[in-house]
Amino acid sequence: MGLEIIEVTKRFGQATAVDHLTLTVPEGEMFGLLGANGAGKTTTFRMILGLLLPTEGVIRWQGEPIDDAKSHLIGYLPEERGLYPKLKVQEQLLYLGRLRGMKKTDLLPEIDRWLERFHIRDYANKRVEELSKGNQQKIQFIAAVLHRPKLLILDEPFSGLDPVNVELLKEAVLDLKRNGTTIVFSSHRMEHVEELCEHVCILRRGRAVVAGALRELKRSFGKQILVIQGDGPFEQLARFPGVLQWKRTAEGVRLQIANEEAAQAILGHIAGKVAVRLFALEEPSLNDIFIEKVGAAYE
């Protein structure tokens, strides 16, 4: 069953933030929600959490509507830091964990384990405002997962983290998924979504423009990406039959082509004329799909 969002619309007065959105996230899956700023991601999350009520449509978890009584099943990491700046890390996590229905005796070892895992055990008795942004984000993450939620909602979980910490958090997210947690997350970074999610949905002005399993989306995209690295010149390839898009990169060019035959033709055309160090056919990235569907670069 998992999470079902059925024909959900949210209007704020005249403005429509989410427009007839239908999504299903099977239990134990990781689901990526993408969209430009203002596309309706956070509004969707807030509706799932019950912070906002949908104007139309229903949202269900395991076939039942989500209300305050289910708060212990749900974990939430908001986009902006939501912590008490003056409270010490351990007290903070204890309080938030207890509000989600956990006992103090169960919480203490759990907090310890997480702090250890994120290498921030020394900060247990520091006030949150004294921590760096990255470490605050780790605390925020712990607060979201401490009570072992069944459904975890992560709004931009990796923003503000350095690559080492991104890996640390990604590892933790994958661990949670392995333990059966259903995860919905949004990210600015396409590669994170690509790496973690089986299912994605791209929102544009509150509507789902692309939704489905990532692998099938790529397969049905039809077009392929040809990467050529060398000294060039490659300008003449822009008008070559079968080339849909032409873009210069630091090392050469990146072409979007209609099919594999076009790649063969290009190879024949440039062989012996220009020095080529790399000639590779790649499957389209999520970014290609996104740009194609949303019509503009993401960030």
Binding site: F12, G13, R46, L49, G50, L51, L52, L53, P54, T55, E56, D68, S71, H72, I74, Y76, P78, E80, R81, G82, L83, Y84, P85, K86, L87, Y95, L96, R98, L99, R100, A143
Partner: protein, 409 residues
Amino acid sequence: MNKFFLVAVHTYQTKLKAKAFLVTTAITCLLIIGVANIQPIIEFFTGDEKTHVAVIDRTGSLYGPLAKQANDDQVALTKITDMENEAKEAVKEGKWDGLLVLSMDAEGLPEAVYYANTIVDNQTPEELERALSQLKTALSAAKLGLTDEQMAELYKPVPFQKVALEKNAKTEEELNQARALVYVLLFAMYMFVLMYGGMIATEVATEKSSRVMEILVSSVPPVQQLFGKIIGVALVSLTQFFVFFAVAFAALKTSGQEVWRFLGFDHLPASIFGYALVFFLLGYLLYAVLFAVLGSLVSRVEDVQPAITPVMMLVVAAFMIAMFGLNAPESAFVTGASFVPFFAPMLMFLRIGLVSVPGWEVALCLALLAATIALLIYFGAKVYRGGVLMYGRMNIFKDIKQAIQLTKK
């Protein structure tokens, strides 16, 4: 319910542990100790507090009786025979604190001029004037040839008693005590709302500006959260009040002053204490909910003050009307205002304390108050839930509207 206690206890503990709170409490305690010992402290700094006044007696007969009349704790009189100018110089040089020149007017009654470097000190001349007036009265009486008995008769006070005819009306003694109790309660409520109302609003606004609210609202129903905060702060205030009382009691006791002289409530019926409790609690609840809702509407702590000012004004207005009502509890204005929920906790209690209010009026007033509180809680929980998601600029009425809209479908 469980979460409600968690929020309340959490609020209580964090507030209590906050440095600012501890410092404020400590400073206030020091102040209380200081005030309780004000007499010895002033005496300590003043040392010899007598004013030394030189007296030039041109009549030759006034100094003796005057010295007897004047209070020697305050002024020390010394008769001198210097010339007036020399004496004035002596005052300027600081040899004397003041100079009193006594003479007789045409009708043979005393006259006086008091010289001092400054006449800031009111006490000494007043004391001298009092003593001289008495002297003058005695002299006049003697001139008229009145006997001591006749004098006594002249000054005998008129016997004047007040008797209330209404059966339930309070006796003079009861009234005085009731007035004292009403005064205490009015003041307590006023202080409470002004001191802790702001604390509730700030508490909520702080939580909101740190965006913890978003997590909290998704895990605790807003009504429970609202009440958790209100009760938490109430507990903080009670703790603080208890500390203040204990310190004040101990300080007064050690300074040897009569503590309970003013607080004899033995003539009051027990029911009035019950009313005091009920009205105090309802009043606190009413204003606390208002403050919490206002706190949830602003997005920054700096905006709390302007947002809660109108409510503060309401409390001040209620207090002003109540002060006026202490002397005119039966006026139509006070009676009318006592049914307005925002004034009711102070004014209805005042009326119950001072005049006999029909039972139905009390019941109606309580019902109105309870209904207003219930309405505010219902409305407040909605605004609260929506308010925490708004981070814009401030315009109270628009914000309330928008907050409610956010909780709608």
